[in-house]
């Protein structure tokens, strides 16, 4: 049994980057205010002292310039980690993320690789309102050539990020800003987690909740409460949207006969529709005892007022109500 230690989600990300930078001199990091300031969420704390300013590079506020430079450096054989302060800012460099990074290899006949990780802080719950709180992962999952990872625990964050840094493709690593200070157990020894393998965070028999990111903890809380009423929910954390572990999802639904998909992103047009489609397309369809149900954010820009903000997103109570409606 591995020796475990308790660390935060932010520290797990920091540890993953430090280990990979020590392991491979081609790995470096750039982004806005990541050096002395340690990033808007303090994720790169201590890294400037450890690796120096040539590997922990503050950039101008020029998302196209430094995300583009990350792509170019990756094409030249480096392994850049690019930190985008808020995931909403991806809209400023959408060309680089959509038209460049995922297409170079295919468009150029397979002769180039783009081993870049774009890390960014996603999600609401901090009172940052409409332009600093979104969950835009469905957009990224829509572009073949990108991989999209959203970890929900310190353990997953560390293991998945190390794999992402070693991956030869552009990986979009969407961190959950309200999880940065949450703690969890992580092995002292080195480990990695493959991309595209879902994790059943809680086993159950009555209904599957398929979820990811911040909603994993919320779904587990809902499952705990439902268990008190004798309802046994299985919580499947997909961990990566691309590649998607359809097999684990399908097996879970075949076991529980019910599927509720929960995510923080706007429900309409969200990634839950894809998961629902994967279930409907599979033989799990024949096992369903209820319609496939989705629960995501309401269709509105994210409001500032804390009560309004909370009500925009799934809550434990809303998850419980949805599960019950399927039984």
């Amino acid at each position: 049994m591995a020796t475990m230690k308790e660390i935060t989600y932010a520290q797990a990300i920091n540890d993953a980057m430090c280990e990979e930078m020590q392991r491979d001199e081609n790995v470096f990091m750039m982004g806005e205010d990541i050096a002395e300031y340690c990033g808007a969420f303090g994720v790169s704390r201590g890294m400037l002292e450890k690796f120096g300013k040539d590997r922990i590079m503050n950039t101008p506020i020029s998302e196209q310039a430094y995300v583009g430079a990350g792509i170019g450096a990756a094409m030249a054989g480096m392994r850049p980690i690019v930190e985008l302060m808020f995931s909403d800012f991806m809209c400023v460099c959408f060309d680089e993320l959509v038209n460049e990074a995922p297409k170079m290899r295919f468009m150029f006949g397979g002769k180039v690789k783009v081993p870049m990780v774009m890390r960014t802080a996603a999600g609401a719950g901090t009172g940052a309102a409409a332009q600093h709180s979104q969950s835009l992962e469905a957009c990224l999952a829509h572009f073949p050539g990108l991989k999209v990872v959203i970890p929900s625990t310190p353990y997953d964050a560390k293991g998945l990020l190390k794999t992402a840094i070693r991956d030869d493709n552009p990986v979009m690593f969407l961190e959950q800003k309200t999880l940065y200070r949450t703690k969890g157990m992580v092995p002292e020894e080195e480990y990695t987690i493959p991309l595209g393998v879902a994790d059943v965070k809680r086993e159950g028999t009555d209904c599957s909740i398929i979820t990811y990111g911040r909603m994993v903890q919320m779904s587990l809380q809902a499952a705990e409460k439902l268990a008190e009423e004798g309802i046994h929910v299985e919580v499947v954390d997909i961990r990566s949207l691309v590649p998607l572990d359809t097999k684990t999802i399908v097996e879970s639904v075949k076991k529980t006969h019910r599927a509720l998909i929960v995510h923080e992103a706007v429900q309409f047009g969200g990634f839950g529709g894809e998961i629902a489609g994967q279930i409907a397309d599979s033989d799990a369809f024949y096992y369903l005892d209820a319609p496939i149900r989705r629960l995501g954010a309401l269709s509105c820009p994210i409001p500032f007022n804390p009560n309004l903000e909370r009500e925009t997103f799934p809550t434990v109570d809303k998850i419980i109500a949805q599960v019950k409606s399927l039984l």
Binding site: G68, A69, D95, E100, R105
Partner: protein, 335 residues
Amino acid sequence: MSVKTAKNSAKAGEGTEISRELLLKMWENMNLARNFEEHVQWLFSKGLVHGTTHLGIGEEATAAGTIAALKPQDYVFGTHRGHSQAICKGISVNNMMAEILARETGVCKGKGGSMHIADPDIHYFGADGILGASAVMCNGTALAIKKRGEKDRISLVFFGDGTSNEGATWEAMNLAAVWQLPTLFVCVNNTYGMSTPIAQAMHDTDISKRAYPFDMPARSIDGNNVLEVYRTIKEAREYVASGKGPMLVVENTYRISGHSKSDGNLYRTKEEIESWKKKCPIKAFRKYLVENGIATEQELDDMAQAAANAIDAAEEYAKSCPEPSVDDLLNDVYA
């Protein structure tokens, strides 16, 4: 905009130490590029090619002079009007023609087409269909050079006058300057962004001034004079490779061909086009080579004919190759 005449341009080559071999290489490349593009234009007009293409007939001196002044290890990012850049960087016309005819042996396996011709194996990161993107990515290869401490290597990006107005281009110039990257920005100013003349798209049409806020040296030169281009880029390369930071060179030229196959030339006069045909960079270079005793008319004719033959052969080669297998469709989406 100050574009020197062909007569002045010929003088610009004097006094430079350029070997006969290199001069004739530039002649060959310009002829290959011109023949390639005229051939592609003809194939399109016959409906033998699908998709679209962006030709740069009349701009050959910019690619030939620029790339002749580089070293093989240099990274080059081209433009979507980049056939001549690709040829000069060293992609075989056979594999280029095969790409345009969407064959398996195309340099991008038939998956890129005219707008994405590239060959990372020879450090040519090719044509990009989104303007401004090449400039920001070019800083990335420059950053890799700097991080590895490679002393005799630079990263060069070609971009057009239209792209000089893209925010990404400005961001790229700023980043290259603040990080002192070995990036050489080469603006091929052909005076039109598709149909819009530069005076409608920028208040001051001297693009070289755009280097000033970044404290970058800049030169604005006659892009139809291949020797002036060569000499300027050679100096610029030395400057950039020495670690002093980026530089901007504006190569002023003119696109004789239309923007793309859909261009009806409604935005310019026949007289204007004819006046630029008289300033054809290939004609000007021929005059220089003959007057300076570097080659005879006959020798130049023979080389031009050989270039035309090579393009004919490229078409034959491409047509003899199979189209990519549908089995290959999903390959290379991920590494």
